[in-house]
């Protein structure tokens, strides 16, 4: 079996060696094209036989870069290059000349090149690629370069969020948001759906409930919505969990990350644990506590990493609707806009009815629009019978 390189370019590095087992979709090599360094994926399972291209060599479209053995197939005897006229001969002197040319280009100020795999890895481990020395062709930063930079990095100062000044804390939060959201938009193929949900029954029910409660036990509509999301999620496991190492791991219960705006700017989305199992006064107390601690920068690390889905509510700011960016490695985010009276068609005709726009942003690698639509319909139904939540 043969793996082919999509566009022509210069091979930067092999990420596999002869004898390695490979799987469909795995990145096996990095090739530098005129525009960017790209990952070369393999389209079959098997074992790497021979690497027929050396780093620095130019690979033409359709050229054989490597042979892949079927599982169980014995490796062939090494063949002399001349026996295969259809593939570019390995240039013995060419690679030296290419390396020289690379150094020359770098000195002339050619822009920095980095492979997508190396960039992703650098993001994940917090390495600034601008400061990494690239050793690939044309000074391209390779995976190995990022690892070297990581190993050489001084141990970060023990500056915890608690001891940071507000300005430092703000900078840390901004950095964390930038890293997570950039990664999300790079890696997650989002799809978006929205649904206008009548809220009259939920508003009336909550008003009556709260009227009978002391102020310290009063529940906000945001909590009713969180509970409804958790209940609806029980039937849609594809929206609740983590996408890790190329596959989806559903979570057994919904720990909902609640987006909380920080007063200095920025936001965090710590987890409310097992929302479906708790009654609303309990959820209200926990949410209140979570917000207070989020703003005082005293969240527990488990709260920061446990969330299996995120809910963002911008209703208080008066927006109609919000379409969110998924927090990796989660696979979905539910957004609520403002609950307010709007023209709405009921069985009795056109009326002014309290409604809310609920949206879903979900990861298309894991679920499809059909699933998302059924989830929003279920959320709609749950919010029509708040007494059952």
């Amino acid at each position: 079996m043969i793996s082919r390189c999509p566009p022509s370019g210069k091979l930067i590095e092999w990420l596999v060696q002869p004898g390695d087992e490979v799987h469909k979709g795995q990145v096996v090599a990095i090739v530098d094209t005129s525009k960017a360094a790209i990952d070369v994926e393999i389209w079959t399972d098997g074992v790497v036989g021979q690497l027929k291209t050396v780093p620095g060599e130019t690979v033409l479209v359709g050229a054989v870069m490597a042979t892949i053995l079927d599982p169980g197939e014995a490796p062939p005897e090494p063949e002399p290059p001349a026996a295969e006229p259809d593939h570019a001969p390995a240039p013995p002197a060419g690679s030296t000349r290419t390396a020289d040319a690379a150094r020359h280009d770098e000195a002339a100020g050619v822009r920095r090149r980095i492979s997508p795999a190396a960039r992703r890895h650098a993001d994940e481990i917090g390495i600034d690629v601008a400061a990494v020395t690239g050793t690939g062709p044309l000074g391209t930063v390779t995976l190995a370069d990022v690892d070297r930079a990581a190993a050489a990095r001084p141990t970060p100062e023990a500056k915890s969020v608690e001891t940071a000044t507000p300005a430092e804390r703000h900078a840390l939060v901004r950095q964390a948001i930038a890293a997570a959201m950039s990664r999300s938009k790079r890696e997650i193929p989002h799809y978006y759906l929205s649904e206008t949900i009548p809220m009259a029954r939920a508003v009336d029910w909550l008003t009556a409930e709260n009227a009978g409660r002391p102020i310290t036990e009063r529940v906000l509509m945001a909590v009713v919505q969180l509970k409804a999301v958790a209940r609806a999620l029980a039937d849609f496991p594809q929206l609740n969990g983590f996408f890790v190492d190329g596959s989806f791991r559903p979570a057994p219960v919904a720990h909902i990350g609640v987006a909380i705006a920080l007063r200095q700017g920025g936001l965090v989305a710590p987890a409310l644990h097992d929302v479906a199992a708790k009654d609303m006064p309990t959820l209200m107390r926990e949410l209140s506590d979570l917000v207070a601690r989020a703003r005082a920068a005293s969240l527990r690390s488990s709260e920061q990493s446990d969330a299996t889905i995120t809910v963002t509510n911008l209703g208080d700011q008066g927006v109609e609707s919000v379409f969110g960016i998924i927090t990796p490695p989660q696979v979905a985010l539910v957004g609520f806009g403002r609950v307010a009276p709007r023209p709405f068609v009921t069985e009795a005709g056109l009326a002014a009815v309290a409604t809310v726009s609920a949206s879903l942003a979900a990861d298309h690698r894991v679920s499809d629009g059909h699933t998302g639509a059924m989830f929003l319909a279920s959320l709609h139904d749950w919010l029509q019978r708040p007494e059952d939540l």
Binding site: A211, P214, I215, T216, L220, M221, A222, R263, S288, V291
Partner: protein, 80 residues
């Protein structure tokens, strides 16, 4: 409790919820939520703080009467 003490109590509870607010810059007659970024949870925490300090329960139905600092002072003065 005189008006100055009552205002101090209100501002102290507001500061507990929104520590970044410049309390000296607050205008008593302007709607509070236009001067301070309070979401519905902040607002509830603020009212719970007032309740615990002054033992006044504030039903949800009364929220619309409580737009400004001056409104709050009038409302609370009649109930403590």
């Amino acid at each position: 409790m005189d008006d100055t003490e009552l205002r101090t109590a209100i501002v102290t509870e507001l500061h507990a919820v929104a520590p970044e607010v410049d309390v000296d810059g607050l205008v008593d007659t302007r709607p509070l939520r236009r001067q301070v970024d309070l979401d519905s949870l902040d607002w509830l925490r603020f009212l719970v703080g007032l309740h615990e300090r002054l033992q006044v329960d504030i039903p949800e139905a009364d929220y619309p009467q409580l737009a400004s600092l001056a409104d709050l002072m009038g409302y609370l003065r009649a109930r403590i």
